[in-house]
């Protein structure tokens, strides 16, 4: 899977938000925010095809977390991205 064309991560006042440049009207009244680790993973996979497993490995290499927890967190994160229409 990969992040759909047009979505870009921006840092504004310390918050990571996703701006949807793929659509004509950009609705800044409803934005999707990512926390720091989610933003890290976003940057890791941005612009390329990735798998959940690759994300887990990235997370494990950067953060102090146990594998089962990492797998659970990545799955939840990817599910939320799919639900929000961010990935294809």
């Amino acid at each position: 899977m990969k992040i759909k064309n047009g979505f870009e991560l921006r840092n504004i006042c310390g918050e990571y938000i996703i701006v949807a440049y793929g659509v004509e009207n950009i609705d800044f009244t409803k934005v999707i925010t990512l926390n720091e680790s989610a933003a890290f993973l976003w940057n890791e996979v941005f612009g390329k095809d990735f798998t959940e497993q690759e994300m887990v490995e990235s997370l494990l290499s950067e953060y102090e977390v146990e594998r089962p927890q990492a797998e659970k967190d990545v799955k939840a994160l990817v599910d939320s991205w799919v639900e929000a229409g961010l990935v294809e």
């Binding site: 504004i12 006042c13 440049y21 659509v23 950009i26 609705d27 934005v31």
Partner: protein, 168 residues
């Protein structure tokens, strides 16, 4: 899905990002903040859609960076020799602010208001008859504006002027 929460961001950081998206050819929707464009536009409730300001005319409502990092969205009152004067619909001249207008070079206009989205109805300014009538009449009522706005606050918000004090 994650929960919804409110996020407040400083204009000086937020609006350049909004302007960037407009320069990239998009329209951008934000929530209106402040009372300076009353009575039509209401703080926190109405949404504003901005587009490119290719041509600026008197009567347009524009978003301008009047000083670096300082953004204001008001109605254009006059354009003379490349200098724009604008006035908020909800602003009155008074001792504190002099003429109650902002004056700046036209190059500082960053976007033009193209739609106002109120709960229940969206106004596309280029074609809305309501907007055209309001825009033609309201600026002409400037001598009465102070009283009309006071009436508006009283009727819609049950707010009395802050300087009135209760008898003890």
């Amino acid at each position: 899905m994650e929960q919804m929460r409110k996020m407040s961001v400083d204009n000086a950081v937020f609006l350049p990002m909004v302007v960037e998206s407009i320069e990239r050819g998009h329209t951008a929707t934000i929530i209106a903040r402040g009372n300076s464009m009353r009575p039509f536009i209401e703080d926190g409730r109405d949404k504003l859609v901005f587009g490119k300001a290719d041509k600026v005319s008197v009567g347009d409502v524009v978003l301008a960076e009047i000083e670096d990092g300082h953004f204001v969205c008001h109605r254009v009152e006059r354009i003379e020799h490349g200098i724009v004067t604008m006035r908020g619909d909800g602003n009155v001249p008074c001792k504190a602010n002099g003429t109650g207008t902002e004056t700046f070079p036209i190059e500082r206009v960053r976007a033009k208001l193209v739609q106002v989205i109120k709960p229940g109805k969206t106004y596309t300014l280029a074609t809305s008859r309501t907007w055209k009538i309001y825009s033609a009449i309201w600026p002409r009522l400037l001598p009465l504006r102070r009283y009309l706005l006071a009436l508006y606050r009283l009727l819609w918000f049950h707010q009395l002027p802050a300087r009135w004090t209760k008898k003890d």
